[in-house]
Symmetry: C2
Subunit: 152 residues, 2 copies
């Protein structure tokens, strides 16, 4: 589990992630400062995998559950460097993140991915993640998002 | 926007919601206390609709964004009493929730629903929510969840 001292490295890796998926990426220095800020609170934890260099990361956001005296954990990012994929690092990292989240008091984890990322879909489903709202294979849970208008 | 004084009413409505969808529901008194606790922080806001009685509610969870100097808002619940559906209350409530979230400093809202809830899908898509990760209609964003093991 990373500390704020690793925020600059984490910010660079998240920048690579955004670039790979054509997502806009914030300024790395701004992101490092933001990471230091949120990693100092109970609401965010970043887990790293790799020997020496960072090969991948998981970003977890926590919130108090409204259904049990526990937290919920939103897995905001799960990323393995492209050259290192297909070796089970994602599975190893996600399994460790789930254990960490449970030990920290989370009773539930949620995440989103796209149907096009077949490796991610296979990983999540093999670990027991459900996209059917527990209602069986005829249902699909969709993840929706929208940018909210800036208010001048 | 509700205050902690309305927590007991909100807990009852969330209980009705869970019952309708066959979800396990926490003890109403526990939930009311939990709501009071989280509504006193910046991470949770509940918006109500109705004249006198509460006809529906939106539960918003906020977290600092890692992509912009703003918050993200997770719409955890959107619920209108069954007898009052089909009159546009959900649209009115969600539009107000989006405006409220933007004014509070959120630049992004996300939520999940199931393909079986065609009214919800139609509502979200008509308001511009995207389930394609902005990559066009051939993609679908899936929402995955899992219960984490309790640790003795």
């Amino acid at each position: 589990v990373a500390t704020g001292a690793e925020a600059a490295d984490i910010a660079r890796l998240l920048g690579d992630f955004n670039e790979e998926y054509d997502e806009p990426s914030p300024d790395p220095e701004w992101l490092a400062a933001r990471l230091r800020e949120v990693m100092a609170t109970a609401d965010t934890a970043v887990m790293l995998i790799g020997a020496g260099a960072i090969d991948g990361l998981a970003v977890m956001r926590f919130r108090p559950s409204l259904s049990a005296p526990a937290d919920e954990c939103y897995l905001a990012e799960l990323y393995i460097r492209p050259a290192l994929r297909g070796q089970g690092l994602g599975r190893q990292l996600l399994t460790a993140a789930m254990t960490y989240a449970a030990r920290r008091g989370a009773h539930h984890m949620d995440l989103s991915t796209t149907n096009e990322d077949t490796a991610a879909v296979a990983l999540y489903e093999s670990l027991g993640f459900d996209r059917h709202e527990r209602r069986g294979p005829d249902t699909t849970s969709y993840y929706y998002e929208i940018d909210l208008p800036g208010l001048a």
